[in-house]
Structure formats: structure tokens, C-alpha cells
Symmetry: C5
Subunit: 354 residues, 5 copies
């Protein structure tokens, strides 16, 4: 998990607004896909940056530009110029460690967000920076790597299912955010399943591996928490701050979306509490186990130490030890030992040690 | 406890507002019961979806439609059309994992809530999704399974007890919410009884079973907390946001209702704190027990180890060991051992170990 | 402590506003005492419910009705009718588990509160439900049991001390609340004394009894906290929400009262923190004690185990063991043992184990 | 530390506003000192209560009355009459356990506060109740005991240093509060030094004395916290609530004062966190120490127990034990023992136990 | 870390606004550097305090005065007079322990802040007091020691890179704050790297050194937290409180800056949570280790104690012990011992102890 920001060392002192890619390069080339659609039209093609300006002119269609790969600052810069994006926003698009935020401008609304992915085998979370801006007749999404992330939405547009083709870019923008949040649901689902399984396991037999799992999940939840909280804020501001770029009819969907984000954050909160409970169980189970081990040791030791002592006494080599000469001395000693053992057992029974 | 939401995996990418049942199917068929009443009239009958529209026309009576079973999305969809319910709300009715919420519309007020049930033997909580909407002359309640849940209210209407038949659907709606919250009280009552019993038990003798109970109750309270907090919000909004669908006289009841929810949440809060205290007691009792066990071991060991050593010394086979030849050597050795034991006992007494 | 509410099981489904006594019956009969006073007049008598209406007519005097015992719902209902109290408020008076609240009406102000009592020997808190309403020329107080609770106030009225007879029922109401809060002070005083004593004891020698005391006090503070917080709210609302029933001159007293409640809640908050500190001390003291015990065991064991081994070696019966035949063999063995003991002691000294 | 309020037992039921001294008597007589000053004038004298009224008439000078000793309620009452102080405020002046507060009146502003003093040897805090009121041309301060507390301020007035003589009683009032808060700084300074020293000590070797120090400091911080928070509130209200008694030019000083209080509360907050960290270190160090002790015990025991057993075997007295007759039997046994010891040491080395 | 404020002892009672240097003297002389620049001009020179007034007159250029070293109160006082700075602000500049704050005046805006530096080898944080004020055509920065701290910004001005020379002192001020915050990023980067490394190490093998590191980092984060929170406040107020000294176009940069501070505080918050997790891991790992050690001890002890006892029994010297004479007595005894060992091993296997 890149909880840490990308190394900023080399960027200190650079004038603000300079387009610099701050992140790991995850893909080789920058890919630009342009989807154009209206109620009866759908086209999707890979384009060159040079064609872009021309293609955007057709105002009858909604244009969705999907940019994958962020390391080529020149191309991103050119896109910025075409859409009239300020330098500081370009900087945010390129900074893959930037936290989620929203900014309202006259010509578009800008949203920085994260898409996250939970790996069920390694129990880690992978996140990817997603920037999104939508204007009067276009939506632009910037992704680091996963060029096929939005395939399901594309299909819905293609198949003309639901209302997506009848409504504008603000609805497409809502659809994208809804899709992102649905994926958070999915993540909770998987993570929750793992946490619930862990909870049951810990209660029965605490192991070192579980401890490291608890700790891993705690890290994951700290990480996600940092992403989900600003996301909730973004949706709330989208819903409450009126913008001419959002149609009246879209607000009902945004309200519903806000409902979903709240539910997601509530779920995460619940799982954080659950993890704390699990750690508590772990620690007390550990204590229980120590107690059990110590009891076994104590029982064995306290039973045998006294009778071993008796054996030691009659193993002494003094010349004058009357008991040694008694005919039943040996049996008396054995009897004494047995009596001590029985006494001890009764004592432990009363203490409820077993 | 279905802390986790129903698996959303298959629902990702579906256009928002599509009516899909998200939950477990708990009953076989969808049952529609229509209750019609006025001050001198009461009728209750099972109806078909096809009859519904016709039956709603009689505006002189208050109509209460109880829908049990949510898996048949077609029927729910038809009900939605009859009552003019938006798709997004239909989605909320069908999503049994949805958190409690309230939405104000022109024609009706929609409330999503949960009814909960505490099983005293398994110490678990079972919850059921309850949706509720009320308009000018009707109330519709959607339940997953328990078709007889509202029997006590029905009886009150039938017997014309209290003011219920004299007042409108907003009062019926209040009665239903009041009934739901009364059941939360009942739950606290039972849960509180179990927690109080646990508290006493833990203080006297901590066991593994108690630990798992503490942990179970913590889970239950985390779960309930997630339901009760939005419920309080719902009642507060009902009381404060004026709606033409609620008569002036009903607000006094809603204020009282709000009082009750606050009391319920306060009780839950108290029990959460109590559980934390119980866990603290458990851990310190555990520590106490370990200390006790260790003391027994240490007393036995420190008493016998030195005297066993003496026995060992006089068990050595050296040819020249003057003590062995002394006439009272054996008695001197025994005396030395007894002296050591007494010394040790005095030492422990001073240390207040017993 | 009745942290739990009275069993609500049987009350579920009852129409709201139905007067039902919810609590334990603590006294045999319902007692009505009417105190009438003006600047030069004082009378106190036990009356019957039938006389009440007639007696209230004299508007020149301030009337204070003290009702003790709540189980006779008929009498309480009649009082409700005479003073024109709504059914929902009657319900609150009868529900001894109801949390503190305030309600403003046109003809009177209603306050539900608790009087509490700390038992210094059993270290428990006993609470009693106190309802209070005051109008233009009367105050009514409802108590569960302690009919002599307000004797000190009565004496002040009788003796005409202070301003009480010169001012109206709002001042009497203030006096009653002030008296209730003064009793909370007293409770803190006693509780604080016990907690301070406990704090000192825990630091020196932690015992099982202290642990159960800590836990008892935690429970008491959780319980009181639930009562004091709404009480502060009540006084704040009395002070800030203007009512024609409260004279301008009384507000200064209410401000002072609010000051006192804040101080009381602050004190409770402090004691909660103190208890957390005490528990921390307890746990660390426990750990210290375990360490001490383990050190004793370890010192004894590590000193004697090696030398016992040497004794064991020379206790072996091999035919050919040269050392056994040496003239000073025995003394050499003893010397070796002493050397080991001294070495061990130096080692422990360096480790600062004693 | 008088965390507890003075015993209120005897004061319950007393009419509010009755002047009663609630506190310990700390000084024998009540001392009244009157300081009069203007830009070119300074006089300081001890006066009698009977002279006071006369002396206040000279409106050209600023008058500062310092009252030391609060137990003589009659004198305090007379002062109250002279300055026209309401009974409830007199009560606050006399109640040495009263928390800090501010009250705005037409003729003066009243502030109750505490001066605190940290004893570096006993590590305890001593507090003294300080009441302060200032009007158009006078300041009155009430102290319990330390009649020389304000000497430094007096000197500044006498020496005409700074702006103090040029500005009015509101500035003097500010100077007094500033002086009080400066003393809180001093306290943090000393306390912080002790906490930092403790932090270093705990990390190296945790002892019982440190534990009791941690606990003492926690108590001190809980106590101070209760005083500083309302103090911050007082200064904030002084700064924000406009009063004709405070000149426009003084607000800039009050803003600066508020800055200082915030800094003081921040420091205390930091030290509270630091103490929590110290306790954590203490507990984990304790755990470390236990682990270390247990390791020593385990190493010694596991090495010697098996070889002692071997010695025991060859100490048995069976008639037929072939090994006993072997010529090198003894050396073989010794060799076996040494092999076991080496094996154990390798095992522990691998486990990284030493 | 100077968590503690500089010793205030000697400063108590000094009239407010008196310029006194409160801090450690870190540099020998006070250095004044004046940078003058416009779009085509850059000059930097060390100046004397006497030349300053004259040099400020050229209003065509932006003047940046960098003052390094604060102990010479006379020089600072003179600068204060030249720029017309109130005495209370001069006091804040000289008090190196002052917390970050902002103050708006008519002629300039004053900001007190800290620059911090993380030492990767000693794992400590070093902070330096930075005061900053900017007016219509000048910026003044006061530093304790690091005269070359702003070199990178100077270079940008010199090289005319970015917009810095085209915009006014408000932009320069923003640049300076941005630079300070960028250095906080760098600090997180380094600190985060160390914390992540620690996290991994703790999980595998907890040591005393790690504990002291955890504790050191906790201290560092408590310290930084106290600096970053007011810094966020400063930037928020700069952004929201309109001042004629800040041009409309600069607000967009300030908004971006605020974004950055929020991100920085979020990161610190995350690391605080992470450290808590690390401590939890440490404690539970410690518990695990203790359990492991105890298991080894218990296994060894419980296996050997019983068989050593048997050896002891047959080492007794009773005259009549039939077993001793049996021909296979020795082998039977050995067999019995082996049987016990196997039995024990099976028992431990079942208990899953190894």
C-alpha cells in the first residue's frame, strides 16, 4: 500500500503549477480513447493527441475521453490546454499520491479520486489515481493503468440500457462515480468476509499469523479511511453546491449516491471497530493460553517437587538413619508420597484448576 | 448477524434504479394484505396485486397495505407504479442491506428501517428490513418475512382502542414507528439482562466462554449501533421538517417518539461502556489468576528446592564426608531443612503472599 | 442500580398516552401533601384527591402539591385532569425509568429528573424518579417514595428565611432543582472520598477487592453520567428559553444553577478520568507484582538447580569415580557449589534484580 | 490537590445567596490593601473596612483593592455592599472550590479564577482561589492567602514601567490575568522538566516509584485541565463580548492574552499525550523485563533439568546396572551431560534467546 | 525536541510588549539580507540596519528582507519601528517557543510558523522559529539560524522561472509558505519510511530498541502535530479572510496550498494511527514470545520432573526395597521413564504445543 506519498525530495522548490509526474510509471504508453455517443449513436476509437481538438467540435454528441497512463507530462499538458485546465489542476492530475478532492470551475468540475482493488490472496489493497472532469458536453477521465476499468459502463452506453444515453455528461459523471463507489462496496464485501473469518479463527486458537493479519487489515482500513472520507465530502459537495453544469434532474441521483457513500463509510467504521474487538480477543486469548500453560507447569511441579524431596531424604548416606532399617520403611515412604499427591490434587480441584 | 451487505458482486455495473432484489429469499410467496379502517369500520383481507388499484379508490377510509416478501421484483415494481414511487426508492425497498433512511416527497414520505429481534439462547440478533411509506390516506409497509409482526397494532385498530382510528395515516405511521422502537426497548431489556449477568460472572471467575460472550455482545452492539443512530436521525427529521402530510396534532407524538429513541440510544451507549468495563475486568481478573498460580508455584518451588539440595549433598558418595559418620548427623540435616522451610514461610508471610 | 429500564415486555403495543405505572411499587399508598404559603402564611396538610380542586382556587397563595407514590394510576390520572396535563406527560410521570427531560407548555413547565443517593457501605447508588411541574401559582412534585425529601425546603418556607416566600412558584421550582443538584454535590463528595481512598490503596498493594470496587465505581459513574448530562441540558434550556412563567428576576438564579450543574458534570468527568488512571495503576501494579514473584522464583531456581546437579553427579554409583576417593573431594565439591552461588549472586546484582 | 470540593454536607438546604465561607481557613485575619495610582502618583496602605467607602470617592485615581483571607464573611459582605455585588457573586467569591467563570454586569465584570503553584519536591500542585472584579475606576482582587502574590505588578506601577499607569482598570485587570497565565507557563516549565526526566528514566529501567510518579502527574494534569479550560473560555469571552468597561485599545492585549492561554492549553494537552506514551513505555518495558527474567529461568532450568535426571538415573541403587561397572561409565555419563548442554545452547542460540 | 517552551521564569512580571529574546542563541550575529527584484531586475546584498529605511523607498521593486538571528533585540526593535510593527508582535517574533499564528493588520499580515527538519540518524526533529510579514511591496522573514534556507526560492527569482517575478509580495509570501509545507512533505517522507521499516521489523522480532524507537516517533508526532494543526488554520484563514494585501489571483494558489496542508495533516494523522498499531503489535508479539518461552520451560519441566522423581525413588537407601534386587529392575525403571516421556509428548501434541 502506498500509504506514503511518492518521494517529493526532488520536487521541492519547483515553481507551483509546473507539470511534473509524481508517481510510479505503471504503463508504457499513454493511451487516449474517445467515446462519442448520443441516444442513437455510439463510437469508440483510440485517437492521437493531435486529432483531439478537431474531434471535440461536434457538440451534438457527448464525448468521453479516457486517458490511460500519466507519465508523459507533455501529452497531459496538451490535453490541459485543449480543455483549458489550470496548471495547478494539471499538477493534481499528475500527482498520483494526491488525496481525493473536488474543485468547481466555470467551464468544468474537477474531481480527484481513487479506484481501489483488494487482493484476496495477499490481503493487500492496490489503489490507482483517477481524475475526472466534466463540462457542458464532455467527460475526461485520467487513469494510471487500467484501461479496461470502465468497460461495464461502456457496454451500458453501447446497449443503450437505462437512461444513460438520454442524459448529459453530468449523468455520465454520476455513473462513473457510482461505479467507483460500487467497487468500494465490493471491496468491503471481500474484506468483510476475510475479517469475519479471522474473527472466528482468533476466538478458537490465536496464532502469530492471525496477529499479522489483524495488523495488515488495520493498515488497510487506515489506508481506505483516508480515501473514503474525502470521497464522501466530494459527493456531498456535488449534491449541495449548485452548479449550472449539473441538471436539476441529476440531483436526485446524487442524493442517492451520497446515501451510498455514507453507507460505505459506515461499513468501514464498523469493520474498524470489529478489528479492535478482534485484537482484544486475541490478547485475552493469549492471556488465557499463558494461564493454561502455567497451570500445567504448576500442577506438575507442585506435585512432584515435594515427593522428589522425600526420595532425596532417604537417598542420603548418613550412617544412622533409623527409617532405613525399618522393614516397611520403603512402603511407608511410598505411602507418604501417594498421600501428598492426593492432597495436592484435592487442593487443585478446590481451586478449580482442572 | 448480517453485518456484511448482501453480495454486491453481481450487481456492479447495473444501471441505477433497476429493480433488483438484493437479499436472501426468506419467504416463498409475496403476500399482500390490505387493511381498511375508519372510526366505525375495519376490514382486513389478502388481496392480489391486480385488485390493488381499484381498492385504493375509496378515499373515506384509511388504507394500510402490508407487503410481506420482497423477492418478486415484478409485484414490487407494480406496487411502485400504483403509488408512483421513483425507481431509486424501489431499489431501496428491495435492498435488504440498506441502512435506515428517510426521504420526503410531495405525495408521500418514505422511511427505510429495520426490525430487530434478540435470540436469548444463541445471543444473536436477527434483523429484518422494513420499508414504510405513507401518503394522504394510505400507509404501505414492506417486510421481508414476518407477516404477523404488526398484529398488536391491527388489534388496536380493530378494537378501536386509543385514538388510532380517529387520526390519519400520519398517526398510523407514528404508531408503527413507535411499535418498532418499543421492540428495541424490549431488545435492550433482554440484552441488558444478559450483560448484567455476565458482568457478575466475570468478576468472580473468568472463563473462555465468557470471553466469547463479551465478544459476541460487542458485535451485537456494533451492529445495533449502526441501525439505531440513523433511526434517531429519521425521527428527528420527521419531527423537525414540516410536511403537509403530517398533521399539526401529530407532532406532539413525534416529539415523544424522539424522546424514546434518544433514551434507546443512550441505553445502548451505556451498555457499550459497560462491556468495555467487563472486558477490563476480565483482563485484570485473568492477570490476578496468573499471579495466584505463579505464587503457588513459587512458594512450593522456593521451599523445596533448597532442602532438596541438602538431601542431594548428603546423598553424595564421597568416601570422606565427616557429617555422614556423626551420630546425630541425620537429625541435624532434618533440623536444618525444617529451619529453612520456616525461614521461607516467614519471608513469604512478610511479602504478604498468603 | 436500575441501569436497565423496567421490563417493558408487557407494555408493548399499548396505545401511547395510556396511563400505566412502569416501575417497582416502593410505597403502599399514594400520599398527597398540600403546602400553601404567602409572605405571612404557611399551612401544610395531607389531603384527599377529592379536595384538591377546591383547595387550588385560592389564588392569593402559592400552592405546592407533593405527591408520594406513583402506583395508583387512577389518582395520578385525576391529578392530571385537574392540572390539565396531557396523557403523554402523565405517561412520563409514571415511567420511573424515564430519562430526565423538560417540556414547555402554555400553562406549565414540566421537568422529569432523578434524585440520587449514594450508599457509603454498599458503594451503590439508589435513584428515585422525580417529576416536577410548575404553573402560574402552583408547583407539583411527584416522588416515588421519600415523602420527607423536601423537609429542609419546607422549613425555609415556614421560617420565612431567605427570599423564598417573597417570590413566586418559579423561584420555588428553582429552589427544588437547586436542592436536587446540591444532593448531587453531596454524592460527589462521598464518592470522591471513596475513590481517592481507593487510589491510594491500589498504588501500594492491588487486591481482588479493589478491582471489584473500581468496577463498581465505573458502573456508578456510567449510571450517573446518564442522569447528569440531560439534567445540565434541562437547566440550560430553563435559563435560555424564555417562558412567561419565569419572572425576569429568576433568571439570575437559573444562571447560577447552570453554573453549578456544569461544575457537577465537570467533577464527574474528572472522577471518570481518575478511575481510568486507577485501573491503569492496578494493571501495572499487578504486572510489577508478577515480575517480583517471578524474580524470586528465578533467583532461587537458578541458584539451586546447578548445585543440586553437582550433588547429583557425586551421588552416582559408578564404580570408578576418582573424585569420590580424593581426600578433599567432598570439600572441593562444596567449594565448587559455593563458587557457583557467589557467581550467580554477582550476576543478579549486575542485572539489578535485587 | 483539592480535586474534591469542600464538604458541602452542612451547606445543603441553605438559601442561595447566603454568604457562607466554603473552604479551609488558610490565614488568620482578613487583610485589606488599597493601592491608588495615577500617572504621577502611587500610594499603598493597609486599610480598615470602615474607611473603604470614603477612600473610593477620589475618582481621579485608579483604585486597586487587594483582599487577602476569605473566612470573615461579614467583612466580605460589607465589601459586597460597597461595590454593589449581588449575593450570588459573593457566594462565588467565598466558595474556594468554585470553578473559573466570568460574569458581565453593568457596573463591573466579575472573574473567578485560580492561581496555581507546582511544588517540585513533592510533585504536587497547590491552588488558591482568586476572584477579580473591575469597574470604571477600580479593581478588586480576592485571595485566600498569598498577600504578596502581586508584588511584581505593584512594582511595575510604582516604577511607572510600561504603559500600566497610563491606562485604566481594564488594563490592570489584563495585567493581573496575564500574570496569572504567566505563572501557568512557569508551572508547565517545571512540570514539563519533570515529565521529560521521567520519560528518559522509564525507558531505561521501570520502577515502582516511576509508576507512582506517572500516576501523580496524571492526577496533576487532570486537575489543571479542569482549571485551564474554563480559563481559556473566560479570556475568549473577555475578548469577544464587547463591554463598555473595556476600552477599544485594550482588546489588542486581550487577543494576545488569548493567544497565550491557547498555547498553555496546547502544552498541557501535549503533556497529557506524553504521559500516555510514558505509561505505554512503562508497561511494555515491564513486559520486556518479565520476558528477560523468564528467559534466564528457562535457560537455566532446561539446561540442568535433563542432566540432573541423568545423574539421578546413575544414582539408583539397583543391584544389576551394567553401566555402573563399566570402567569409563562415569566419563561416558559426563560426556552425555556435556553433549546435552551444548545441544541446548545451540537450540537457544537459534531461537535468539541470547 | 524543544517540546518545552524556553524557560519563562525570568520573564514573569515583565510588562507585555517589552522586546525580550526568549530562546537559545543559535548564531553569533544578526544578519540582514535584502533582496530586491522586479521582472527584469534582481539584487541581493547584506545590509546594515542603518541603511534599511533608505533602501525601502524604491517602491517599483519588491523588497524581501531576510533577517537571520534573533538575539539582538535592539536591531529587531529597530526593524519593528521601520515597518511599524506593534510591540506585541515584536514579542512574538522574539519568542522562539511561540506557536504558529496569523494576525491581520492594515499595513501587513503577520505569520509565525516553524520550519522543521528530521534527522534520519538520530530520529529526532529539529525546529526553527520562522516569522513572516508581508505588506504592499515587501516581505520580511525572521529566522533563527539557517540563513541559506530560502536559497532555492532565491534562485527561482534570479532565474525568473515561473511567475514569481511577475506577481507581488503576496505571491512571494505564498511561495515561502509553500516551500515550508513542501519541507513538511519531505519530513513525512523520511519519517514514513522509518515508520514503515519499523513496522516490518516489529512484526518479526520485537526488541527493546524498537520500543524506544516507537516511543521516539510518538514523541515526534505529538510535537509535529502541535505545529501542523495551527499551520492549517493559518492557511485556511489566509484563504478565507479577505485582505486588500492579497490579490484576487493569488487566492487560487492559497486554495491549492490549503489542499496541501490538509494532505500533510492527514498523513501525520495516518502515521499516528500506524504507530498505535505498531505498539499493539509490539505488545502482542511480546506476549507471544513469553508464551513460547513458557511453553519450552513447561515442556522440559513436565517431561523430566516425573522421571527424575522415579530415579530418586530408586536412589533411596532403604534396606528392604524388593525392586532393587530384581534382575530386570533397572530396565523396568528405564522402561517406565520412557513410557512417561512418550505419554507427555502425546499430551502436548494434542494440546498443540508444538
Amino acid at each position: 500500500m502506498n500509504l506514503r506519498l511518492p518521494k517529493k525530495d526532488k520536487f521541492i522548490g519547483i515553481p507551483p503549477g509546473t507539470p511534473v509526474f509524481k508517481g510510479e510509471k505503471k504503463t508504457d504508453k499513454v493511451e487516449l480513447k474517445l467515446i462519442e455517443y448520443s441516444e442513437n449513436f455510439y463510437s469508440e476509437k483510440e485517437i492521437q493527441i493531435s486529432e483531439l481538438l478537431e474531434l471535440l467540435k461536434d457538440s451534438a454528441k457527448i464525448k468521453w475521453l479516457i486517458v490511460t497512463g500519466l507519465h508523459d507530462t507533455k501529452i497531459i499538458g496538451q490535453i490541459g490546454e485543449i480543455f483549458n485546465i489550470k496548471h495547478l489542476i494539471i499538477e493534481d492530475i499528475l500527482d498520483t499520491g494526491h488525496h481525493p478532492k473536488i474543485d468547481f470551475f466555470d467551464n468544468f468540475i474537477f474531481i480527484a479520486s481513487k479506484i481501489i482493488d483488494y487482493n484476496e490472496t495477499s490481503k493487500t489493497v492496490h489503489s490507482e489515481h483517477l481524475s475526472l472532469l466534466f463540462g457542458k458536453d464532455y467527460v475526461v477521465t485520467f487513469l494510471e493503468q487500467q484501461s479496461d476499468y470502465f468497460n461495464k459502463i461502456k457496454e451500458r452506453i453501447k446497449n443503450n440500457s437505462g437512461r444513460i444515453t438520454k442524459l448529459g455528461p453530468d449523468y455520465l459523471n454520476y455513473t462513473v462515480l457510482d461505479y467507483v463507489i460500487d467497487n468500494y462496496y465490493l471491496l468491503i464485501d471481500k474484506l468483510g468476509y476475510d475479517i469475519d473469518k479471522l474473527e472466528e479463527a482468533v476466538a478458537s486458537n490465536p496464532t502469530k499469523e492471525q496477529l499479522s493479519l489483524i495488523h495488515k487489515f488495520k493498515g488497510v482500513l487506515i489506508y481506505i479511511n483516508r480515501l473514503v472520507k474525502p470521497l464522501r465530502d466530494i459527493v456531498r459537495r456535488l449534491e449541495t453546491e449548485k452548479s449550472p453544469l449539473i441538471k436539476e434532474t441529476t440531483y436526485e441521483y446524487l442524493r442517492d449516491l451520497y446515501d451510498h457513500v455514507v453507507q460505505v463509510t459506515d461499513m468501514f467504521e464498523s469493520y474498524r471497530e470489529t478489528l479492535t474487538v478482534i485484537l482484544d480477543i486475541f490478547i485475552t486469548s493469549q492471556g488465557n493460553k499463558l494461564n493454561e500453560v502455567m497451570k500445567v507447569l504448576t500442577i506438575i511441579a507442585t506435585i512432584f517437587i515435594p515427593i522428589t524431596f522425600i526420595a532425596g531424604v532417604y537417598g542420603m548416606n548418613f550412617r544412622f538413619m533409623p527409617e532405613l532399617g525399618w522393614h516397611y520403611g520403603y512402603y511407608l515412604a511410598l505411602f507418604l508420597m501417594i498421600a501428598i499427591v492426593i492432597g495436592m490434587l484435592i487442593y487443585f480441584k478446590r481451586k478449580k484448576w482442572f
